[in-house]
């Protein structure tokens, strides 16, 4: 990987966590599918980048940040994982297998920033005591964002330039070995983790039938995901109709 590419990728990784994309970086730019596309543009192959990013994103389908903790840093997995995979011209399964540990490393960064940024809240307190609104406002972003910018730029640039080569050599040395086979199997299994984690958040006793219907639609009829979503919209509409009838009946009964 070229230095300039590493620097741009590091900047994109920072930007995905910065306030400047309508404040929605976490929801949008940190998703590995977007990361893969952007890294692909930088590395000169947006289509392959998108395919790799989409593959990595399968594990993070169920990614949720609840109460300020994240299970894994999907942005680091997406940006650096795609960059590594494109640099070593490897399969998507291998990309997936390296993205997982990278994402876990990222949680260390997260805990660090969540701890250090508390200091800046006290700086804001000091400005508040003086009635300095401008100071309070600036303390909400300037110190923390400066810290994150510097830290992420340095970390990811070095990571991309030096570590990608080492990882690439190790992985390429394993091609064709039984272990390499195993990594491919892991790549196939990992999307189950992402789906299961999302189900943990949304699956209820009453919605089990819809899980099975969605599964069967694809298993037997090979319907695309967009198609399943359209069936899902219809099912949701039926549910809403039935509910409004029930509500109507309840009000009528009350009268």
């Amino acid at each position: 990987m070229e230095w300039w590419q590493a620097i741009v990728i590091a900047f994109l990784y920072y930007f995905a966590d910065a306030p400047f994309w309508f404040g929605d970086g976490y929801y949008v730019l940190q998703r590995p599918i977007v990361a893969g596309f952007l890294v692909g543009l930088v590395m000169g192959d947006p289509v392959q980048g998108t395919i790799i990013g989409a593959t990595i994103n399968l594990i993070f389908l169920g990614h949720m940040s609840v109460g300020g903790s994240i299970p894994s840093d999907m942005a680091l997995a997406g940006y650096v994982g795609t960059a590594f995979a494109l640099a070593m011209h490897t399969t998507t399964e291998v990309a997936l297998a390296i993205a997982v540990p990278i994402g876990l490393i990222g949680t260390v960064v997260w805990v660090g920033r969540m701890t250090i940024s508390a200091v800046f809240a006290h700086w804001a307190d000091a400005f508040a005591k003086k009635g300095n609104t401008r100071g309070v406002m600036l303390m909400n972003w300037v110190p923390a964002q400066t810290m994150l910018f510097l830290f992420k730029m340095i970390l990811v640039t070095i990571f991309c330039v030096y570590v990608s080569e080492a990882v690439g050599n190790v992985i390429n040395g394993m091609v064709g070995s039984p272990i390499f086979n195993g990594i491919g199997v892991v790549g196939g299994m990992l999307p189950a983790v992402g789906i299961a984690l999302n189900l943990r958040a949304i699956l209820k006793k009453e919605t089990w039938p819809f899980l099975i219907i969605g599964f069967l639609l694809v298993a037997y009829f090979k319907i695309s995901i967009v198609g399943v979503a359209l069936f899902g919209v219809a099912a949701a509409m039926i549910y809403m109709l039935m509910n409004s009838k029930k509500e109507g009946a309840a009000t009528n009964g009350a009268q």
Partner: protein, 274 residues
């Protein structure tokens, strides 16, 4: 009332500016001690400056909004809107204490986070991302672009209308919104849609099959083709996903699950089982 001598009215522009400060900077200084506390204060700062000409009132206001705060920044924006409405009333002489404002904020941030997490992070985002992935895996650049721009527009729209609703309707509106049956119906409907798509994703993207084959007497028996596929296509991916789901309901940590998948997958793949 003595406070009523001068009345300060907020304009639409003031409320709008406050919204964008929150929208952009809600997580700019996210931290364990206050979470989004400094961001809440940042969004309120221009409002407070306009409402409270006296310095001690301004200091009170700033300190009031620098405390711990954490909610879903999209749907939860209804809290901020209503808080602005409360501050405006207070500045114009209404008998609202600072404690009352903070009690309102802390009382609702939990419920709104619950609703927001299940609706936004649980359904809306996975829906966009799932469709994005299904396009992206075929190399269609519409996939990432849909997530990038479509999801951004959707979320900004949700946050902005929540914020404005909160400001227009005030505090009582939020409690009634949470108790209103329609909100529950919407969440239920979204859950159905999300669950169905997850079912489709299991079939489509989880790859898990066995290579075990043996002969019974003279007849070759391929476990995958002759047993699992004969029962139902993609039976093993479904079983694997439901097993992992079961593990998560038993509160097994994600890291352990990932490690388990790695060990089973690599060992099984190396030994030729999968």
């Amino acid at each position: 009332m003595e406070h009523n001598e001068q009345s300060v009215k907020l304009t639409k522009k003031d409320v709008n500016k406050s919204f964008w400060l929150w929208q952009l900077f809600s997580h700019a200084n996210y931290n364990y001690e206050r979470m989004q506390g400094t961001a809440f204060a940042m969004a309120m700062a221009p409002i407070l400056k306009k409402l409270y000409p006296k310095k001690e009132d301004l200091v009170d206001g700033l300190e009031r909004h620098l405390v711990f705060f954490n909610t879903d920044p999209n749907l939860g924006a209804v809290i901020h809107g209503a808080t602005i409405a409360m501050e405006e009333k207070k500045a114009n002489g209404a008998d609202i204490s600072g404690e009352a404002i903070n009690a309102f904020k802390t009382g609702l941030m939990g419920p709104m986070a619950g609703v927001g997490d299940s609706l936004i992070q649980g359904v809306i985002i996975p829906l966009f991302v799932a469709i994005g992935i299904s396009l992206g895996l075929t190399g269609n650049l519409l996939g990432p672009l849909l997530v990038w721009f479509g999801l951004t527009a959707t979320l900004v729209l949700i946050a902005r209308s929540s914020w404005m609703k909160g400001y227009e309707l005030g505090t009582s509106a939020i409690t009634s919104m949470l108790q209103d049956g329609r909100m529950k119906t919407w969440i239920g409907a979204a859950g159905i849609l999300g669950t169905m798509v997850m079912g489709g994703l299991i079939s489509q993207y989880v790859g898990f099959s066995t290579k075990i084959a043996f002969t019974i007497g003279q007849v070759p028996f391929d476990l995958q083709a002759n047993l699992f596929d004969a029962i139902m296509p993609n039976l093993l991916p479904l079983a694997l996903t439901l097993f992992i789901y079961w593990l998560t309901t038993k509160r097994v940590k994600t890291t352990w699950i990932l490690l388990g998948v790695a060990v089973v997958g690599i060992a099984g793949g190396a030994l030729g089982i999968f």
